[in-house]
Symmetry: C2
């Protein structure tokens, strides 16, 4: 697992180095220039667009924005693994097509089942244990599993240019948050080491939890029910609920992020919306309008008219993964 | 309103002054000594009990812990005022005993109706408008209304010793949060000026909200339904959900805070639970085991056995309100 092997390069950059060249893995294209221009503008006290540090809130989707999400969401791969392990011990848990597909590691059938299948798999694999137990399982899985295409640990498949962007924004006084459809308890296991984002700045989907003192010690247990889906309009709703300010920098990659970008960038004053467009079939994956993961239509059709920056991974990024320089 | 008149004294204390005498409005009793001893212990890198700054999470209840809550919760007084104004324009909204009592400013009848009456009043008074509109109303109310007993603005009835405690903890590397049964949108209007606590560190009860782009601009609107009650076991559940770490310093005043204190202080390593006990009938209000506001039984019965510090307002505090030196 990444955090026990080496810290991501960008997280160890000094502020001085970052100042000299804040985004070394970004090519010298328009995308990099626009990001730096925006940051210069909002951090210059002499600028009309100056924003106080307290209001420099930046939110990032995770799957497909900060790390890869193919051939399917990494958290779902984890969940499918858990179902497989559980079914080996007790096949009677396989009460539906979705669960049987999961036990067979049949990703295609799982995805074809849509949101309903995903929820069913999540409910069984993510519930019935204390939060700490769940997080230890996630850590074990990250330590022991590699991605089928790259051979990298999943948390080495974070995007080097985005990690640099997070560091750059923090160096410039921004507070960086994850706002993801992924689960809070899952993401918090690696977010601090991988991105420098502490647990209290990880916003996401969550299962219901229960509080009990039955054993004599208070314990919080994950329940088999989704408490909140942090996707689509759930993202601005959750940001209002948890952060209570409208972000000025906001980044995503799919139409699940559209409402978050739209709400954030429609506020007064300077705002930057950024969409990571998956255009690199050689070094990563090329996908947008079709499929079942990371579908992007509205962002491509309406984003440019709203002034959003569409980042072309193939041409704007000199490097893809933190864990690897080139190629899958 | 406080924030336009004068900043609370403690918020303008320099770190140097704070270091010299961090809690000037606390008498030199055991309570002050225990707080300082705990903070010294967890911030001394040479101590076995040292806690890294990232883990120095401190959570505070608001009503009855950071500001007064008599003769009833200030947010409920606000809501009752709103119902009165709404009923003057349209009496047909008064469809229940609770709403009629609110329109008559009959606090006793409202309280006698219990949680159900409060929820009904909150639903009508807190919904059907964008978050920004609601918050402007709260700000207007704080600017224009004074407390019936003290004549102070409500946000001047914050407790000077607790404001000093917040500043002291932050000076010592703690991150201070509110975790209150009060509403997030309500508290965020004054929490930063009154306590130095930014919106993203205000956790509380919230109404459901809806996201709409019907007018062409995205807007988040408060809906007439409670989304989450941040009280009793809801407090540790919400802390796990939003902060993702177990606080090491935790403070409350009623049995609504018991679960938060119990969960927090049962974690490993050094922890301090603090209960504000309302013992001062002359300068504030004396109440604990009986009544409908701030009822405290379990905390008094079980808290000392759990090592919690019970603060006696009458003897431990040299001063009560930020807005006034002595007496109601």
């Amino acid at each position: 697992m990444l955090r026990f092997i080496h810290p991501p390069l960008a997280l160890t950059l000094s502020a001085t180095l970052a100042f000299a060249n804040p985004l070394p893995s970004w090519n010298d294209t328009n995308a990099k220039a626009r990001i730096i221009s925006f940051v210069d503008q909002v951090t210059d006290p002499a600028s009309d667009s100056y924003v106080t540090p307290a209001e420099r809130i930046a939110t990032f989707d995770n799957d497909g924005t900060l790390w890869a999400e193919q051939p399917l969401y990494f958290q779902l791969i984890f969940a499918i693994n858990v179902i497989g392990t559980m079914a080996a011990e007790d096949p009677s848990i396989l009460t539906s097509d979705a669960l049987r597909a999961a036990a067979n590691r049949d990703y295609k059938v799982v995805l074809a089942g849509g949101k309903e299948a995903i929820v069913e798999i999540m409910k069984i694999s993510h519930a019935g244990m204390p939060v700490e137990t769940f997080q230890a399982r996630v850590a074990d899985w990250l330590d022991s599993t590699t991605h089928p295409d790259t051979g990298l640990a999943y948390d080495e498949m974070t995007y080097q240019p985005m990690v640099e962007l997070l560091v750059y924004l923090r160096d410039e006084g921004f507070k960086t948050y994850i706002v993801s459809g992924g689960g809070i308890h899952f993401m918090r296991v690696f977010a601090e080491e991988a991105y420098g984002i502490p647990p209290e700045q990880v916003i996401g989907t969550y299962t219901e939890t229960t509080y009990s003192t039955d054993t004599g010690t208070p314990v919080i247990t994950k329940a088999p029910a989704v408490g909140f889906f942090d996707d689509k309009e759930g993202k601005p709703i959750n940001i209002d609920r948890i952060i209570g300010r409208r972000p000025i920098f906001v980044s995503g990659n799919s139409d699940g992020d559209f409402a978050m970008l739209d709400w954030s960038t429609s506020g007064p004053g300077p705002r930057l919306g950024l969409i990571v467009h998956h255009t690199d079939a050689v070094r990563e994956y090329a996908y947008d309008r079709d499929g079942q993961i990371g579908v992007l239509n509205d962002g491509l059709d309406l984003g440019p008219g709203k002034g959003w920056l569409i980042v072309d991974m193939a041409s704007d990024w000199a490097r893809i993964y933190v864990g690897q320089q080139n190629g899958k």
